[in-house]
Symmetry: D3
Subunit: 321 residues, 6 copies
């Protein structure tokens, strides 16, 4: 196969390149980074996450051939590399945010180091939380054969591993990086948890596709949610000039041992009392006392007698696309 | 670990291979391409998309180390490579479609070149549209800290970048390739926009998982939709012999500044008047005038007093799976 | 860019490593595999799936340059490699499950070989089923231009290829591997079908994001479902000590030619009679006779006259997050 | 680390690019290939050689896990791929040569296919020759522990495998490709055998670095040479206008069972009679009868009493560099 | 570009495959390995060598970013991985040798582990030897600017690192692997040192191409050799039936502080006395007392007055090829 | 295959690691680089060389699909990347040299940029020199079919491309990098040219294995050398304390149009007059007037009548190893 040469197309390429370099929208769309501070590297953060997963679940992820007896060697070496890699990505995140807000960058390097160490020191605690999430997944799904299967296969554990890590970094005021880590899990699982969300121990999300948990959500211990659940905002607050006020508490609080079934939507800063159950597809915008069971009002579905008449050109009714 | 040799298994492998080569369903399942026209390469299209992303958002994607001062060099070189790579994939797409419909293929190469150039000439306009989408994302999400964060992290920008590109190729009657590009974004974000959908400037999709926007949808300026929104068909039209008529307008029209909240479903060729708001989970199959606010009828949820009695074997009620 | 050396940070790394090696939760989170039996390799299973896809859809996937005339050579060689690769992964799956349940492992290798061969012998039948799924996709979607396009681009075919394979392995009592294969499709498409689900010929899932089909679901011939459909359990059965009973039939049965539109939820061991249509967003927990059409009760949406008053700080109402 | 932006350097880059595109030497140094015929791919030829090595020495090279019982499957598939890959590279070689000589290229594709098949048909004979070379290596080197060790480790087998293949292609008048294959071995082993050289069965080169065997050399059965041996030309013949006449027989003939020790140089179209031995470092430019032993005239080396006097500034005498 | 399908070529491929599977030479050329013991992996051994180089010369090779303060972590982890990787390759080497000699293989695994550990315990001693070789390179070459430059760039250090490692493995009776390691250096540097050769401290080879040092050579302390030097055998000893006796001492002994200049050839079990210098191109087959300087007898080269007569068709005389 | 766990081996690994971290030889063998200045990257320099080769010989190397019409785009972009990549490697080289000599490093970055630009400005001149080397290769080798073949296949062009580049960098006082570039060619071709050697236009090295050209060699126009030629030093000059004086002129001068045949050795600061021919294996340590032909004194080889008597245990005489 052979294309004829561009010939008079070449001026065209010059024209396109010129147009793309023209300033107006170019400026918005371009990150003209300081030479030493490119955007964080998704590839490097992918490696950071792989190392973290291997450190948190040895034998399940990472070098499968490392015997328990020599795990300690590899853990130390990996933590040391992690420290360096994560600090570099945090530094880039800080520089990026400062570039966008025109702040000076003299201490970015030291700051990044400090935050990376602070984060690593929390790894044992994060591991404990994830152990609880494994337990919750195994006990919460009748299809789970062993706890190990949930570690290795379940989207809930992918999402929660990323969230527990992203949340710890978010709490350290690390910019951008937590969001990237959350989006990695969102893309892989369809579960979208904002790094700011506070989630208690032994949390389990079954199936998970379409779950959205907003920035200021607070979830207690031993809760469980299913696919398509939204913990969202009911409204946004704008200031006098119409600009959205950022960071206001605007998402639900679930107390301990709340279960939310598939497709339910809970909106606004409402509190779902402990030990409550929210049924599937429920739409909820108000507080619920402890020990409640909320079910969707039984919709009286019409049953239409089917009759595919010869001349009937309507073949469906619903949400075919 | 060592497997004993297959021994008498070998005849089995021959039998399986024979069965798989037997004609009947084999013919349907096989693309016996002309030697010079294999299926489009997903890997090559992935590189095309990476180059496009780098050309549209320099500094954010692509070679992070390219200073603004030398951007022009790299842009020209990349556009030239893009032209060649994209033309080749378009050619494969055309040949594939013609092979399926037994059309001749003499001019596929010239045609592909022409379409690739026509597309590249639209890049500056596509860039302008995406600049509007960035603005919409930043302004529409209280959790967004900077516009750059939305470029780098938000599924909405992934989906819209792919859609703006796929839509331009679709408008040039390029077969197959636009659909592949849409599916790439669908797989990464859970947002499924048909390349045929017409979407105005400053569009934002928050969270996005489960969004479906059908082939003949028309969306005005400054609209916003949330996760789980469907803009679908209510029915399909079949011809006299029962075969679906393809390409008929069958999806909704959203006029300017319409907001559709999470989980809402709008079906059929209905028109949602400008400046309207469709509440979460609303199910809508009729026209709506300008400036409307449609909310789901408040479902009177039953509150059932919870009581986990010792002998109770029902542990949940909802959509556990 | 240069980080100052860790200095006194080093003791910190030692402390973190010590804490991570401390036993308590460590034991749960660690797979201390027998040296010869690490966890199954996701990379190897990815290659197994690529080979299977190439064997089932020659010309569409795999080496695009293989002419039909020499297909037979490559098929035999690939089947032979597949046998070996799949047997090894099955073996690891068996060893993992036995390690978790402390069973002996002497015959894992022979068992794995036997199951791999049994599976390969079903490939022609799987191919026939997939040919039907291609037909269903082409006929069921007015946007599909050719059957080949559905093979190459449609998430439904990705999900059904993985499911037909995972289901066959599940029926052979292969542990863990079927689940991994299902999750691969779940992550790529947002369609979550449990390997145990029994699905008849000519099945089509349009768009698919958010579809969940539970372990004991039974689906007849020529059914079709849309995005966001759940075939789930209404409740779980626990034994006397509160432990979930695993494997009980608890998901719906769809008879032949049932269509379920987007967002519908069908829960429990109910039977949807043949040739029925379940409308979008319907919530269904009871049996439905043959030839029924179930539609959501038309919700009487309130239309609220919009009026963005100057001082109005509420900018949305719905499920913004 | 951060470089200051190029600033005024950019004009410099433009100037360099302009100078590099200026025609004069540019034309000599540029291969302005027809679009469909780039230079042969070294990477593709590397893969061709790997496949050939795996086909000729199964179990030693290529997929180590292929059991003998299924070798036949993989051999057929690999030969089919080889046919295609090699034909493509041969085609490129033909096109390149014709481009340099301005010949037409209409039949390059057919010609390349024909030559690739002709070559593959010789593989069994090439294998037989290499079996003899393995035997010669094992019997000729007291340090060789097993024949297999010579296949796996010995530069002689690398060089002879490439040579036997390159020679067969050269005999089929394939341009360029044989030379590339020879240079691959030359770079890896330091053994430089021109593809035109005719070498009989059971040939062994020990150590090999620096061996040069010229284009028109003829070597009989069961010969052996050591490192640094040259079989070269004594003079070149020029035509009336001073241009070298190409292809004239100008290198030595070794009859059967000749041994040439390290560093010996044999120049010109001389004949070394069968069963002769040429000693190390011998310089030979004349015929030698059968059964001769040629040794270097014993040089009467001076022995100089050593005495490193304090003021002596000469620390060596020889070929320090 | 498109090849016409093979058509009737297919039988040809079958014929070639049949011929290649025919037994006679097939058996010699095939390693029909036990399933669990393929040939050693050159790729894995390459990684072993990279790890060893990084452990021996930290900062020069391996992860350049590892600060001295955390070197200890990475060293332990790398040694642990090395142990496992090297043991596996040694095991394969033992199995291969036993397969060739039909010995049983029950203890290969334990034996390999033991030898790998024995080898690792010698690493500090090997490091000390290499420190001496670095010193010798820096002091012996007037072109060397710093010792570090010789570590990073000099072929002598490549060759000696591989040799010191291969020699230690050879001394532990590890089969095959030492030879492979030697050939790696031979291919990269043109320096061919048999793993059996015994070389004292502070050895330096300048330039090195073409150097051959035979299996039973013994080299004292502080020796130096230049490119093209051969320490070879003068004759081989055969047993009554004409089979070469393997392992007999047959190569030279160099005592301490001997220098051998470029191209010199020393053959047979001769002893070169300490502090001697062997001049370039010398051919030596007898003992030399201590403190000798051996120079090539000054050859009385003829000077032929040049005269390129018009009709002269001889353009060179020498070793053009 | 499974190794028993290390058990008591672990203390051994700790001991080895401790020994390897012990200071004495450790200090010599370790490059404790400043964090921002690791050793130059061989991989990055490999890419630099690939870009340079593609810029110097477009169509032969680099992206084969770039049409001449768009070459200018790619050249500019590649030069810009080259500038950055090369500057970074030069900076590392400078830092390394200064670290070894304890000099300060404040201006390394600026200096490296300046040298990289100075080098790039010489590319057109380097291209002209290489055009002459191509001409010389084509005209000097009767086996060369086209000039393009020598560009693509000949070791001489590999060696000269690297040398012309390394020599230019050496002339700019760039440390370390030129040497690395030379060694890359040395390893690939067996031709060892010191970056300091000054070589005139139209130089050709045939075969090349074993050629050594020393640091202070000076070679005129249109010279030609064959494999195994050494242009070396006869002696080194030491200062009063016995340390070698570095950089003294100590290698030969070849005037224009000198030919040196295979294996010849020319040592010391001697001058070979223009238009002279040095015969193969000649050993030369004195000046030679213009127009000379130097041939090796015809050695009177003994011809020993061969007679392989039954009991003869000597099977060879020469340089078998």
């Amino acid at each position: 196969m052979s294309f004829t040469p561009l010939g008079q197309g070449i001026p065209l390429i010059d024209q396109i390149a010129d147009a793309l370099c023209a300033r107006a929208p170019y400026q918005v769309m371009t990150y003209d980074s300081p030479a030493s501070s490119p955007m964080p590297s998704l590839e490097a953060l992918g490696e950071v996450m792989s190392r973290l997963r291997a450190a948190l679940f040895p034998g399940y992820f990472g070098n499968a051939r490392i015997a328990a007896s020599s795990l300690r060697y590899h853990l130390s070496a990996s933590l040391d590399s992690l420290y360096r890699q994560l600090a570099e990505q945090i530094r880039r995140g800080i520089c990026f945010t400062r570039a966008e807000t025109s702040s000076a960058c003299a201490d970015c390097c030291d700051l990044a180091q400090e935050k990376a160490l602070d984060f690593l020191a929390q790894l044992p605690a994060i591991r404990d939380l994830l152990a609880g999430d494994v337990k919750a997944a195994y006990e919460g799904d009748p299809a789970a054969k062993t706890p190990g299967e949930t570690i290795f296969c379940y989207p809930s554990l992918v999402a929660m591993t990323n969230h527990r890590i992203a949340h710890a970094l978010h709490a350290l005021d690390v910019p951008l990086i937590p969001r990237i880590i959350s989006e990695m899990a969102h893309s892989a699982t369809g579960i979208d948890i904002h790094p700011g969300a506070s989630i208690g121990p032994e949390f389990f999300i079954d199936h998970g596709t379409g779950v959205v948990i907003g920035e200021t959500s607070v979830i207690g211990a031993r809760c469980r949610v299913y696919q398509g659940v939204t913990l969202g905002a009911l409204s946004f607050v704008a200031d006098g000039s119409g600009v959205l006020v950022k960071g206001m508490p605007r998402h639900p609080i679930l107390e301990d041992e709340v279960i939310v079934y598939a497709g339910a939507t809970i909106l606004g800063r409402v509190t779902i009392g402990g030990n409550s159950i929210i049924g599937g597809n429920v739409w909820l915008t108000r507080d619920v006392p402890r020990n409640s069971r909320i079910v969707q009002q039984q919709s009286v579905d019409s049953i239409v007698p089917s009759g595919k008449a010869a001349g009937d050109i309507m073949t469906g009714f619903g949400a075919g696309v």
